[in-house]
């Protein structure tokens, strides 16, 4: 593949790596990339292996699929199995295991489960199937929440009767704070979320340097973005600075997307608390559809079981999400828990730390160096 793109230029990457190596010197640094999209880029392009060994990237909690607790997946399956329901969701959610299998299994048992690329597609399905009730299983951070908000507004404008949203949107700041409060944490800085920041802007992260004394640089998703961000973090540390910087300036503005935030405010409100897979309950960390849109709230329209299900004992997704252990250090990684038969959600989404490591990175440094050096075939 010829990545002629300016953000995938190998010569520029080599220059950045050289400069990063000089800045890092003999010291060791741990940086957390918050976003699952970053984790995917890092593994897909083999970036871990071209950074100097002293720089470790810790994979954070920013994979929306990975943080949905089992009880919510069970509720989703219950909804999907209700008579005359068409259940819609993003493709990644189809394989997430609940306590009775996944939505893919529910589909094989006869439930009408369809994957969509946008909640507006779900609304269209509702229009095409007036005799059915269409539920959209909404997941994601502030990145995808505005598209759900737009869909709610549209549904209300059109007076759609047979459409509702099972809202599981979460917010990015509370888990970052939870990680910073974690006593076993040893991080030197953060690669801040890119897509989320297009919506929320860069201001909400100020507490990271101000309260916790860690630098944060909002990063883009191309390989050069990641390398440039690592470089910026190191430069801050070497300059004795500690602040929020924006590497992804071509997309992210300081104030975020004002219109999207306004739409979110019109349609959703903060939940008092929400359970995160592996991280437990975090207060004010998720969004609920507000009273004005209650007609489109699946939680209001259906009496879901709402049973809380403990994570499987063997699963260490929580420690992986907090960056306390590496994916391969989990007891079930790669044996009982694989992408075909995931136990934990980190193994499901291609953005999950475990799936990314299993699919792309299951190879140690010497092997990687050897392959990297294999002269052009």
């Amino acid at each position: 593949m010829k990545f002629v793109d300016e953000f995938r230029d190998p010569a520029a990457a080599r220059a950045l790596v050289k400069s990063i190596t000089q800045l890092a010197g003999e010291d060791e640094f741990k940086f957390m990339e918050v976003c699952g999209g970053h984790t995917h880029t890092i593994y897909r392009h083999g970036l871990e292996h071209i950074l100097p060994p002293g720089i470790e990237l810790v994979h954070g909690p920013g994979c929306p699929v990975c943080v949905i607790p089992m009880g919510r997946v069970d509720d989703a399956m219950w909804l999907a199995e209700q008579p005359d329901v068409i259940f819609t969701t993003f493709g990644d959610m189809m394989r997430v295991p609940g306590s009775r299998g996944s939505l893919l299994d529910a589909k094989a048992r006869g439930a009408d489960v369809r994957f969509v690329y946008s909640p507006l597609d779900a609304l269209k399905i509702a229009g095409d199937n007036p005799g059915k009730h269409v539920v959209f299983f909404a997941v994601g951070f502030e990145t995808t929440a505005p598209s759900t908000a737009v869909t709610l507004v549209r549904a209300k404008q059109l007076g759609v009767q047979n459409f509702s949203v099972f809202c599981n949107h979460v917010t990015i700041v509370p888990p970052i704070r939870a990680i910073l409060e974690s006593p076993d944490l040893r991080l030197h800085g953060f690669l801040g979320p890119g897509h989320v920041s297009t919506v929320v802007g860069t201001r909400p992260y100020r507490f990271v340097p101000e309260t916790y004394g860690k630098p944060l640089v909002v990063a883009g998703f191309e390989p050069l973005d990641i390398l440039a961000t690592v470089h910026m973090l190191l430069q801050q540390i070497r300059d004795g600075r500690c602040e929020v910087e924006n590497q992804y300036g071509r997309v992210v503005r300081e104030e975020g997307n004002v219109q999207a935030l306004k739409l979110l405010g019109e349609t959703m409100e903060l939940r008092p608390h929400f359970e995160w897979r592996g991280l437990g309950f975090i207060s004010q960390s998720a969004l609920k559809i507000n009273g004005a849109y209650a007609d489109f709230d699946a939680e209001e329209r259906f009496s879901m079981p709402g049973v809380r299900v403990a994570d499987p004992k063997a699963c260490q997704c929580g420690e992986v999400l907090k960056g306390v252990i590496k994916p391969w250090e989990c007891k079930v990684f790669g044996t009982a828990c694989t992408p075909e038969t995931p136990i934990g959600t980190c193994m499901v989404s291609p953005e999950g730390a475990c799936a990314a490591y299993y699919n792309f990175g299951r190879m140690h440094r010497e092997a990687a160096d050897m392959i990297g050096q294999t002269a052009g075939v």
Binding site: K2, P10, Y117, M363, H364, A367
Partner: protein
């Protein structure tokens, strides 16, 4: 070369990771287990679930040496000593017509190509049709005309067939199944067991055109990309040219469902060797790469219907590429990787930055019903 997975390290942390990785590799080499109770779409995706189903249900029941090769076609010896290649395939693509072809073209090309990469000269095809009640006869006629045209171009005859009609709703329009027979020229030997370290992987052209063309033709993505056209085509002429230019060719496979990534994994596992691909060398049309990026799909796993991979000895690689490029369908042919002794069963990819990653078999089905 030491085994990258097992080589010792002085660092105890790395040593523990190595042991863990070794355990995982051992685990991966086990026969795939079939733990599902019901068929899901993943069983038809050509990845690990498909392998588990084939192994545990079909091979288990039909067991014989020809089947156990799990090639694109079975090569059968006649009492006279002549050898036939025999292959079958079914087609459920949705939509039935897409940019660059129809289910009719696919039904012929799919089987012709399976025979060609088995080393045979394709000769005769059968065709069976499952048609849903209400299907327009004019549309059927047009698809059958596509089959005739494709068969003429591939030098094969459709010599037997069958038709079934099912009630409305019991099928989705039209399904076609074809089987084919070809003659393997005397002296031609191909097999994964012939593959050696140092051999080169030659790919006959750009990746992902078919899968993305069909995906976008469904219209539910609202992506406009008129330039993305299916590559459905017969490869028998390219195969013949390659075998003439590189008579030492070891093994061939067409990169259909599961794409190049899956084909390379099958090679690595069957031959017990490692494969290293060079990402910078992989030909992908910019529109396809753009659409894949947008959808989060890796073009290395996207289906092709007119592309094949050949393993050739290093010294014949240049001639092989030149022979393919001399054919109108092979102008983008290129060496994409090489065979290495270690780690056996594994496919790795070298990124343009000098980074590396594993290319595993596909899990799940990003694009159902593309062929």
């Amino acid at each position: 070369m030491t085994s990258p997975v097992t080589s010792a390290s002085t660092n105890s942390h790395v040593g523990r990771e190595d042991r863990m990785l070794l355990k995982i590799e051992e685990f991966r080499k086990r026969r795939p287990r079939l733990i599902d109770e019901l068929i899901t779409l993943a069983h038809g995706a050509g990845g690990k679930s498909s392998a588990a189903l084939t192994d545990n249900v079909f091979v288990e029941a039909f067991r014989n040496p020809e089947l156990e090769q799990l090639g694109d076609g079975a090569v059968l010896a006649l009492p006279s000593g002549e050898r036939l290649a025999f292959s079958t395939d079914s087609f459920v693509v949705q939509p039935i017509e897409f940019p660059g072809g129809t289910i009719g073209h696919l039904a012929v090309h799919g089987t012709v190509n399976d025979l060609a990469v088995s080393g045979a000269v394709p000769q005769w095809l059968s065709a069976a049709f499952v048609i849903e009640e209400g299907f327009a006869i004019s549309r059927l006629r047009s698809i059958v005309a596509d089959m005739r045209q494709a068969a003429d171009a591939a030098g094969v005859q459709i010599v037997t067939g069958d038709t079934k009609v099912v009630a409305k709703g019991a099928a989705d329009g039209l399904y076609i199944s074809t089987a084919g027979v070809g003659v393997v020229p005397a002296g031609r030997q191909l097999g994964a067991d012939l593959v050696e370290a140092g051999d080169r992987l030659v790919l006959s052209g750009a990746l992902g055109d078919h899968g993305m063309a069909v995906m976008l033709a469904r219209g539910d993505l609202a992506i406009d990309a008129d330039e993305i056209v299916s590559d459905t085509a017969p490869v028998h002429e390219m195969v013949a040219a390659l075998l003439t230019a590189a008579p030492g060719t070891r093994w061939m496979r067409d990169a259909t469902r599961g794409g190049l990534g899956t084909v390379c994994n099958e090679l690595a596992q069957t031959a017990g060797i490692g494969v290293i691909l060079d990402e910078a060398a992989l030909p992908v049309h910019p529109q396809v790469l753009g659409a894949c990026d947008m959808l989060g799909i890796d073009p290395i796993y996207v289906a092709n219907e007119g592309k094949f991979v050949a393993v050739v000895p290093e010294e014949q690689a240049e001639a092989a590429v030149a022979a393919l490029r001399a054919h109108p369908l092979g102008v983008e042919a290129v060496v994409v990787g090489q065979v290495v002794p270690e780690p056996p069963g594994m496919v790795a990819l070298r990124t343009p930055f000098g980074g590396s990653r594993i290319v595993d078999m596909l899990v799940g089905d990003p694009l159902p019903r593309i062929c």
